[in-house]
Amino acid sequence: MDKMIYVDNLRKEFKKVIKEPGLKGSVKSLFSPKKEIITAVDGVSFDVDRGEILGFIGPNGAGKSTVIKMLTGILTPTSGMCRINGKIPQEDRKNYVREIGVVFGQRTQLWWDLALRETYAVLKEIYEVPDEQYHKRMAFLNEVLELDDFITSPVRTLSLGQRMRADIAASLLHSPKVLFLDEPTIGLDVVVKENIRGAIRQINEQEGTTVILTTHDLSDIELLCERIVMIDKGKKVFDGALSQLKHSYGQMRTFRFELLSPDDIALLDYRGRFKLSDDDCSTEVKKASVCVKFNSSLVSVEDMISYTLQTVHVKDIEIRDVEIEEIIKRLYKREVAV
């Protein structure tokens, strides 16, 4: 009962005018433009618990952003419905958006020419945050997102990382119950990414904020999310815990062997020995070390190690954890039956 977000059979269609190529095509479309209906989101359902961080993933053009835009009240669904904290976004948009925070990584929602401090003053008015709460909140956000260095600069002069931190702080100013983050780490360097992830985790833990996060950076998912929903071509293809995904589909293991002599590398032929395809086994050689990635449901870990040890002299072995990225890459390619 205590679900924060309900999404039921959500669907969104767009009309698109098809332009035929060339001069002839454009003259033709002058008289009879062809229209096509594109289903961007095709009957997606899921729900999110209060205080959960949900990773929402899928390849480019899968419909992630369209779902987020329907959940945030920007787009009106063609059919189906979503309810967040008991409210339907499109019904009473102005009151609904008081309860949510939204960040679009691709474009800022801040005012280009306003100094950041001014920006927050404007948002304070828009969300009617009382003075006392505002000061407390700013102090908190300052601490978490380190805004102090650039709080007096106009938004247009901020670096991408600063701007993203500023945008996230802006979305949290009014203490929203749900936070929508669309690609919050896009284009950022590792240090800033780490800082932003830390902030998201902290807000989630301290305030119980429900977070929906879309990203292309799977380490965001691994570090933040317990559960993921994956969509592809507008349909849901996976919904479950990250550990479940790893457990069920995590057959790909990676070992790194460091050899005594680089000349020995030529002796290893994993694919030939175990009769594996390129997809099920790949190797990467660097100086005297060899990295082998293989499907552990076809070859046991024991066989792999003993073959290596028998064939060459090994100085060191490193066993890497299941790589989520690998699983997801395969899921995107529809190699894993869901």
Partner: protein, 263 residues
């Protein structure tokens, strides 16, 4: 309501600060508008060097109507210039998203963002023309003349803003509508002259279809002659109110049809 005024204050003071940064841009824009209006006045002057009266209107009266037309026009220009951008690019590029994620009226939000100081060029011309022509006219002054003029200016501005809002909202369905705003907006030039110089079709058009005549000629003619208050003033108030209601309706319907832009 108070909140909205406070927001406006913040934005305007920001704009004025910014103005200092872009002094030349502002000056060039304002000078451009000033020259454009001044040349129009010169045109009227050249006409009146040939004839004493234009369809029964003296030089001073025509200047009064012309000057009056610039006041609501410049006010609308000053406060709602961003509607042009809605029609030209904001919707097409998907930048309208951000106006929908805040607990504030999206029409208000999109207009408060821009404060088009260039409009001062038009406003200045308008004020100069009024202060030149009023003392030379034998207009009847009553205690209510000034307050009434203010009310009229507000509703006349509302006519401009509503027409711009409606045409800008078309972009929610068609992605871009800047050209439609342009087409409609240009017809406001009709209101600079006494409507009696036009034929019946144009008169009907700018009185009942695109009622720009109520932004200048009708109210101005009331102040000049003291006649027909019901039509001249009442018409402005009714046209402003009705159009604004219609504009809000179309705008809100448009938001539902808004499609954003590809992820």
């Amino acid at each position: 309501m108070l909140r909205y005024l406070r927001l406006h204050r913040i934005f305007i003071s920001q704009h004025l600060k910014r103005l200092m940064e872009y002094k030349t841009d502002f000056l060039l824009g304002a000078i451009g508008l000033l020259i454009a209006q001044a040349l129009q006045v010169m045109f009227i002057g050249i006409i009146f060097s040939q004839i004493p009266e234009l369809e029964g209107y003296t030089f001073d009266e025509v200047l009064f109507i012309f000057g009056f037309s610039l006041i609501p026009k410049s006010l609308d220009h000053l406060f709602t210039d961003n509607l042009w951008m809605v029609g030209y690019s904001i919707v097409r590029k998907g930048d309208f998203d951000k106006y929908l994620t805040r607990p504030i009226n999206s029409l208000y939000y999109v207009t408060v963002e821009r404060f088009c100081v260039d409009a001062f060029g038009e406003m200045l011309t308008g004020i100069l023309l009024l202060s030149y022509s009023i003392p030379r006219l034998s207009m009847a002054f009553h205690w209510y003349t000034i307050p009434l003029a203010l009310v009229v200016v507000i509703f006349a501005t509302l006519i401009y803003t509503s027409l711009k809002t409606m045409t800008a909202a078309i972009s929610f369905w068609t992605k871009a509508s800047g050209h439609i705003i342009h087409m409609l907006y240009m017809t406001n030039d009709f209101s600079k002259y006494p409507v009696t110089i036009y034929n019946k079709a144009v008169q009907t058009l700018i009185t009942y279809v695109i009622p720009f005549a109520f932004t200048a000629y009708y109210p101005a003619s009331f102040f000049l002659t003291d006649k027909n208050p019901l039509f001249c003033i009442g018409g402005t108030v009714i046209a402003g109110t009705a159009l604004f209601a219609l504009a809000l309706f179309i705008w809100n319907r448009g938001i539902r049809a808004y499609e954003s832009a590809g992820s």
